[in-house]
């Protein structure tokens, strides 16, 4: 049985050091929810509060309508997968998977049957009698996942489960994780600092920084309409340009370096006044032209990566920017060449001067205030 998880005004302190000042989030039943942020942002702390391994200094956590703040971790019925797998080295693969079932004092036949089922599901049945030290990292991770799921937990918690694997295996395992989560349909909370991994597996992502949630949304929302400067630069790569918003009659216009004006129809009503702004332009949101209207720049260097070609440019005012273009069949633009940069106006994001808010319409944020 899956549950929804409600975190209300959670506070975490270590001594006088407040790690999470006030955090609220609703995780829906059966969804794959990821806590994403740089190290030290409090994502693992929050996960461990849900698991019961960290104390809660304020606020409440609910599984459905049941408050679990003071519930023993062993009684929360959670499945947990750890960064270092935490496989019991003294038990065989089968005994590792069966550990939780034995603890629940189920009869032998059921234990055998369930253990077999999940080992098969995770494709580790052929290693059933091996000791963990003779398994590869990926196999150990499968054991950890089987062990966590076999007890039919209400919630599956995963703490950077892929960070100890090499790049190729990581990509493979995230498909496995996503698939198994889909098959079992269990509410899953996943912690990672790798934004690409988060986008690959999640239904929704909460981007965290300094113990606070910045934005909650689908991978697409976060990438295309980030709520603030932090989200825009943490999710994917971006160039931050300084500019001004000026009202030209009823139409707001973005004024970029060298007087390049871009009419912006999608500025929120409340922000329609003259003000300095920051502009987030992703590398693929630039268009390079030989001349015409735009920001003047000189190409410093280029990197050909097959599908795309990356250009590194410096504008006339000395701002450095990265541009990605689909590779063309004709030659690569040479270093030293003067070009003009235009922006794809429907894609770029315009932020307040302090970067705390996106002033465009269409920003979806499930984050609860207060």
């Amino acid at each position: 049985m899956s549950v929804n998880i409600k975190v209300k005004n959670a506070v975490k302190k270590y001594g006088d050091n407040t790690v999470i000042p006030d955090l609220s989030v609703d995780i829906r039943e059966g969804e794959f929810f990821t806590l994403l942020g740089p190290s030290g942002c409090g994502k693992t702390t929050l996960l461990r509060m849900i698991a019961g391994f960290n104390s809660i200094e304020g606020g409440d956590i609910y599984f459905n309508d049941k408050r679990i703040n003071d519930l023993d971790p062993a009684k929360r019925n959670i499945g947990m997968v750890f960064q270092n797998y935490a496989i019991f080295p003294h038990l065989s693969v089968r005994d590792n998977v069966a550990f939780g079932l034995k603890q629940r004092k189920l009869d032998k036949a059921t234990i055998r049957e369930q253990t077999d089922k999940f080992m098969k599901l995770m494709h580790i049945d052929e290693f059933a009698d091996r000791m963990p030290e003779r398994l590869s990292g990926g196999q150990q991770q499968r054991v950890a996942l089987a062990r966590a799921l076999v007890i039919q937990p209400d919630v599956l918690l995963m703490d950077e489960p892929l960070s100890n694997l090499d790049a190729k295996l990581r990509v493979e395992m995230r498909a496995v994780i996503k698939e198994i989560q889909h098959t079992v349909g269990i509410t899953t909370v996943y912690v990672t600092h790798d934004q690409e991994e988060a986008m690959a597996v999640s239904d929704r992502i909460a981007v965290m920084n300094l113990g606070e949630i910045q934005q909650i949304g689908s991978p697409k929302t976060l990438y295309q309409r980030p709520a603030n400067l932090f989200v825009s630069s943490f999710i994917g790569r971006t160039n931050i340009l300084q500019g001004k918003l000026e009202m030209n009659g009823e139409t707001p216009e973005l004024v970029l370096e060298g007087g390049y004006r871009v009419p912006m129809e999608n500025v929120q009503e409340k922000y329609r006044y003259d003000a300095p702004v920051q502009v987030s332009v992703r590398p693929e949101e630039f268009v390079i032209s030989p001349d015409g209207e735009g920001v003047r720049a000189v190409i410093d260097d280029s990197v050909f990566l097959g599908l795309n070609t990356h250009y590194f440019v410096t504008t006339a005012e000395g701002v450095k920017a990265e541009i990605v273009q689909e590779s063309l069949i004709d030659s690569i633009l040479p270093a030293g060449m003067a070009v003009t940069l235009q922006v794809k106006r429907e894609k770029i994001n315009v932020l307040t001067e302090d970067g705390s808010d996106n002033i465009l319409t269409g920003v979806l944020n499930d984050k609860q205030e207060g």
């Binding site: 062993a74 960064q83 062990r147």
Partner: protein, 548 residues
């Protein structure tokens, strides 16, 4: 969960352990301190005044210092190069030599002294042999020189083992890098290897110093008038002029203060050198070339041979014929027959006391290690500190403190087996805790959390996940503790009586009576027991590493 933490099972364990410490360690020590300052219920400093005003005691203190420092230096000088050779070069007969080295430092210290007297004493085999060749008696083994030789040969294996452990953590690339920069051979040993092992060398120095300072048997047997501190404590305690508990207590207090100061100095010194290494590519042993190879082998064989000689000689003696108390030509099992009557009791006591002490030490050490590593709190920090106190208390002082603490109502324990068990626990526990802590620190806490998330209670998680993971490490530590427990003399000699005599104490009794044959027979039995234990250890411990 902060509130929950106060209530859980582990808090109860903390309190129980603390209570145990308070009763069996703190209480006797406080009584000892009181005894040193009290006369007929009045506060007095007369015992300390006596100690510091009489030049005899001052001289003894000086003797102990001189001898401990000399033994420490000689042990380091002997042991460090040996460890270097064994880890850098291929040595023929390595495994056997390593077993012998371990055996040497595991055997009861005073047996070595006793054997040296047999070999190089006034009428010793070697003494006579040399006298025949050079025409006059060689310099005497007795006194300062003898004690230093015996102690150093006894203690350099400790240095060897600790430094070997450190060298195993030195990455080969460090040595290659220094070679690249033109530092090789002897200069590499002094400029690279020694500094890399400095923290360990300091730790080894402390260990050797403490053992030498607290050693009771060696100076007694081979000192011949060269008085040392532990002998004084013992003599004052069982003095011919009637026992003077209070003065013995005062001397013990002085001893504790001195060892505490040494301990702090060492801590301060090793903090300045502290760094951690972990070798990705451990040093590979190479075959040395030409003369170097010969010299290395010569050095290793001679040193290890010298250290092992007394043991072999004692075993040999046990099979010699005796008449009265002296050996006569010919061989037989007479010595064994003589001890046959006492042997069963001594062996039984050795096992009963040893096993009880070992069980208590292992259980306490695992629990304390867990509390210290996983449950940091002020209470558990206190336990941690308390558990290190015995580290700086010489064995004879532990003995006296226990006698003073438990020889009168409400709790009379003197003369029982229980008090011997307590004494051995106190002696061994700091070492076992240190090694258990080291093992536990290697085990990620997530394994335990995984068990909890799968439905285990905290205690179940500890016993089902953590303890099995600690098992092999703790087991190998336990066998070493076992060996040190069965060869312990210093505390036993104060606490034992006819009924609680152990093998080691039986040997001691025979030696003091001058019955060389029976002493040798008992020592051989003890050695066999030690060797068997070590062989089991080798079998059990996968990595063949010995730590203290």
């Amino acid at each position: 969960m902060k509130k929950a933490k106060k209530r859980d099972v582990w808090s109860l364990v903390s309190l129980l352990i603390l209570a145990t410490y308070a009763l069996f360690l703190i209480y006797p020590l406080v009584k000892l301190l009181l005894a040193s300052f009290m006369k007929d219920g009045q506060f007095t400093t007369q015992y300390f005044v006596k100690f510091f005003s009489n030049p005899y005691y001052g001289k003894t203190l000086g003797n102990s210092f001189k001898l401990s420092i000399a033994s420490t230096i000689v042990s380091l000088v002997l042991g460090t190069p040996l460890a270097y050779f064994f880890n850098m070069y291929k040595i023929k007969g390595r495994t056997l030599l390593q077993i012998i080295i371990i055996l040497c430092c595991m055997s009861a210290p005073f047996i070595g002294a006793y054997a040296w007297v047999q070999l190089r004493g006034n009428n010793g085999v070697i003494t006579r042999f040399i006298a025949q060749i050079i025409g006059h008696k060689p310099p005497s083994i007795y006194g300062f020189r003898g004690i230093v030789i015996v102690l150093s040969l006894q203690l350099f294996p400790l240095v060897y083992m600790l430094v070997s452990g450190a060298l195993k953590n030195v990455d080969n690339s460090l040595l290659e890098a220094s070679e690249n920069m033109g530092i090789t051979g002897v200069s590499r040993f002094f400029k690279v290897v020694i500094p890399l092992c400095m923290p360990t060398i300091l730790a080894a120095a402390l260990l050797v110093f403490m053992r030498a300072f607290a050693d009771y048997g060696t100076p007694l047997l081979i000192g011949q008038g060269y008085q040392t501190f532990p002998v004084i404590i013992y003599n004052e305690y069982f003095g011919e002029t009637g026992t003077d508990h209070n003065f013995a207590a005062a001397v013990a207090v002085v001893a504790i203060i001195i060892t505490a100061v040494i301990f702090l100095i060492q801590k301060w010194a090793s903090n300045r050198f502290e760094f951690h290494m972990n070798a990705l590519h451990p040093i590979e042993q190479k075959k040395a070339k030409g003369l170097t190879n010969v010299l290395i082998h010569l050095y290793s064989y001679v040193i290890i041979g010298l250290a092992f000689m007394p043991q072999v000689y004692v075993m040999y003696c046990s099979f010699r014929k005796t008449s009265g108390k002296i050996f006569v030509p010919g061989y037989g099992l007479g010595s064994y027959q003589k001890v046959a009557r006492d042997l069963p009791l001594a062996i039984r006591n050795t096992f009963v006391i040893g096993i009880l002490a070992l069980a208590a030490v292992v259980l306490l050490a695992i629990l304390i290690a867990y509390l210290v590593v996983r449950r940091k709190s002020r209470l558990n920090d206190t336990i941690d500190t308390a558990s290190m106190i015995p580290y700086i208390i010489p064995g004879s002082v532990v003995g006296i403190a226990l006698v003073i603490g438990f020889n009168q109502k409400p709790l009379v324990l003197t003369g029982t087996m229980f008090i011997m068990v307590v004494a051995l626990c106190i002696r061994r526990i700091p070492y076992t805790i240190r090694s258990s802590v080291a093992i536990l620190q290697q085990i990620p806490i997530t394994v335990e959390e995984a068990a909890i998330s799968l439905g285990c209670s905290k205690m179940q998680a500890f016993f089902k996940a953590t303890v099995p993971m600690m098992r092999s490490g703790v087991l190998s530590g336990a066998i070493l503790s076992w060996v040190t427990i069965i060869t312990e003399l210093a505390t036993g000699v104060i606490l034992f009586n006819r009924n609680t005599v152990t093998l080691t104490l039986a040997i001691y009794t025979q030696v003091t009576r001058g019955s060389d044959g029976p002493a040798a027979a008992l020592a051989t039995v003890l050695n066999l027991l030690t060797i068997t234990s070590l062989l089991i250890f080798m079998k059990v411990s996968k990595n063949k590493e010995i730590t203290f």
